[in-house]
Symmetry: C2
Subunit: 558 residues, 2 copies
Amino acid sequence: MAFKTDIEIAREASKQPIQEIGAKLGIATEHLLPYGHDKAKVSQDFINSVQDRKNGKLILVTAINPTPAGEGKTTTTVGLGDGLNAIGKKAAICIREASLGPNFGMKGGAAGGGYAQVVPMEDMNLHFTGDFHAITSAHNLLSAMIDNHIYWGNELEIDERRVVWRRVVDMNDRALRDIVTSLGGVANGFPRQTGFDITVASEVMAILCLSKDLADLEKRLGDMIVAYRRDKSPVYCRDIKADGAMTVLLKDAMQPNLVQTLENNPAFVHGGPFANIAHGCNSVIATTTALKLADYVVTEAGFGADLGAEKFMNIKCRKAGLAPDCVVLVATVRAMKMNGGVAKADLGAENVDAVKKGCANLGRHISNVKSFGVPVVVAINHFSGDTEAEVQAVKDYVASQGSEAILSKHWADGSKGSEALARRVAEIADADRSQFAPLYPDDMSLFGKIERIATKIYHAGEVIADKKIRDQLKEWEAQGYGNLPVCMAKTQYSFSTDPNLRGAPEGHTLPIREVRLSAGAGFVVVICGEIMTMPGLPRVPASETIRLNEGGQIEGLF
Amino acid sequence: MAFKTDIEIAREASKQPIQEIGAKLGIATEHLLPYGHDKAKVSQDFINSVQDRKNGKLILVTAINPTPAGEGKTTTTVGLGDGLNAIGKKAAICIREASLGPNFGMKGGAAGGGYAQVVPMEDMNLHFTGDFHAITSAHNLLSAMIDNHIYWGNELEIDERRVVWRRVVDMNDRALRDIVTSLGGVANGFPRQTGFDITVASEVMAILCLSKDLADLEKRLGDMIVAYRRDKSPVYCRDIKADGAMTVLLKDAMQPNLVQTLENNPAFVHGGPFANIAHGCNSVIATTTALKLADYVVTEAGFGADLGAEKFMNIKCRKAGLAPDCVVLVATVRAMKMNGGVAKADLGAENVDAVKKGCANLGRHISNVKSFGVPVVVAINHFSGDTEAEVQAVKDYVASQGSEAILSKHWADGSKGSEALARRVAEIADADRSQFAPLYPDDMSLFGKIERIATKIYHAGEVIADKKIRDQLKEWEAQGYGNLPVCMAKTQYSFSTDPNLRGAPEGHTLPIREVRLSAGAGFVVVICGEIMTMPGLPRVPASETIRLNEGGQIEGLF
């Protein structure tokens, strides 16, 4: 029998009205702002009304370093959430929203896969509830107001060469990376070189995802640095007086979106900051709200545990006062094989030795997660070609590391396939074994924080940075930003900065290319290697074949 | 007693759930796609199901040339709709959506005023149901795909200097009017000069508003000319293969939005093409749907009757096979005074002579509308300072022109104030007196069509155009575009191209500066004078004071 595609499975979903999904979490209809019949935002009034409740257990799903073989982190998040509900627990999941633009480049963007998906998939890959459009509007209003301020006399004495606030669009458009604006004469302003990033790379996105409410959002927006004067003193968004109007534009976007899994369990899908130049987690407000409404909340973080889990712990949990009760580390037999040196084309053949060899990557992630004081379970996301011997090899390796690995078949079987995983995760979370602590204290120096992550998580031998970069970090410390966490931007494919260096490299050098201050989001971005803030379209973009078919269904998007 | 502001009145509105508003038009709940509790889109299935029904009566509300005194065209549209419902008729109104960007420049954007408004006002001035964001996304996807095509080898042999498709943003951002893109080296493409327009100026907007369904939309999108080759042959959107994906992005935006008036009567608010470089009417799909559901449909067109009504008749009605049963021409005593030479500061004092003198402008519009074979009623939109003698002067003048003028007090009194107008309009529409015919046949030459409008509507003495422009028109005729209507872009303040020439000027010269082909929308834009497709922000933009107050209400937007 041929497998059904994700979209075929999603289209067969028997969705419940979103009001019924809300009811499972005790959200009354009047507190759900519907967007169609299967999506809704949760009202701020309701969120305020549940603040005194006790929090449920927080479960983070993270993964080994991604390989082209695929790991299924979101699939496992969804499958685990359904599994917890299936064994009688009240559980919700929290994941990120998809960016619209990239779906028109490469085929996009299921939320999960197989029988562990969130629906409505089409909407989630298009405009959804308009959150990203609101972020784009708010970001670009500030951009227009900055140039408008300069145009009308530049009272703030902004150095036009040092406007650091760019524009954004939710589209893969390489032509906008580097542009000159305000050509055409006096009426169009002062020409200067600038550019566009993709919306998810906006600091506004990071702020929306870290703010606890609208007042916090407005304060953080005001704190953003948009330009510098000739004397290098910063000009803030607040100086431009854009923070109030931006907050108005983001008023609805701040409210978490509720949808459902294929098994009609509640899923919050909210926020989607870039996992490299930002922290790559869903919104704090969605996670904290879910914790008030469900006994178990399953969430995930972008890329592998070296990036995603590290930022989840050191940025999101620190900022939001959260602590995970259990971490699920997703691995696949296929990815172990690739880490063990097998080419993608050869993944079909059993190769227990390669699995064993590739497990070093998994082992490093296990010990890294444990170093945060949090219990960890490995979920082996089952692929149909995996052999028993291969699966056993992973289990044995994980046992040798003092942890346990559980095979999970949610992709093929939904919650029936993930019950074992769900039971174990619930046991661990209920045992209150977690003694979470971030990896570094607030009052450590910025460079010290970078070194701590590099040595403890990446197992690098040294961190190197030009004097200019070290001086910049010291300048920020002098200005009072020394207490911020650092947000690492590094390749997701390796513990090192070399994407081809798989496994568990040791003693490598971490070169810092650039540092950027996100004063509103509240972190210092540390860029190690090339990072792309505006993708391009491929030679034959997916958009060439995306269309509505005769039945009004979308073709080519998935 | 001080008058309440529009926003104060709107906030006191006793809104009904949008399902109840839909029920008044016979739309079942499952055919309404809700956006919150007070907005919904009407499903295409439902629209398809009512196509065999008889049309209701179509009433167009238009106005004299706008003056700074204000005319209240939308207010009268809403008031007339409420008045018709109040006298027991089943009536709906159809108006345009507001553009988000300009609200952050000048204080925006009520939909109507006083006790004749459409709600929810805040949403309608912000993201509403996301239609404009969808248009922005679809437009910019095409832009990205054009540059991407060139980047990957330019198989279509596009002349990079002749890419006519720009980008759009729904923001007043003068810095983007004229830009150079693709700087920064090989990876970013080929540098070229281009720019951004505001979203409402996009041909995609005009197309969305003229398409009868999604298939028609897709065809028209494919027809758009995006660039030319060195041999001047056009490259179409279809050649770039963007039409399918653009249609997917516009799938929900094509569905009409249903909201309500303060008196809980149904209002369709859908589409908002620029009234200068496009036709300035709400969507065809909203109007034709409303005509199937209501016995009377009240709609409006942008600017004065010389622009708005002319394009409504010659473009929208011609394309959609519609014919108005009655035209309501809105005038105010204050605007008559300004047309009669009174300065804005002196409008408070009674001045019957000035009213009489200013009536010439009204008279010209009356005879123009009649020339389309449609009966016309003048609505005097009452302002509290108008004196009886002034109102009588307008009535007497209109009577002398063989028409009638009715005083309407919907702004102050809602439907109670507009009942007389409603009764008369219903009588006229019911009498089936209209013998609508457009002003020119399809097969007239393009220049002939321009001359026809200039002489018959503007009372110009001559039309002048460089040989280059006349040759361009002939070239389009040779290419098969000669049957298209023309879309005039001219100042709205005068029948002439001089905005300061009020009243009813005669024998002036109409200079054509430029012509543009909108092959997808299906018209030739004729630009007479300066037109601005990207506004700028003022010295102190409204956005500086827009914010959420303690109660979570929006301040400064209205």
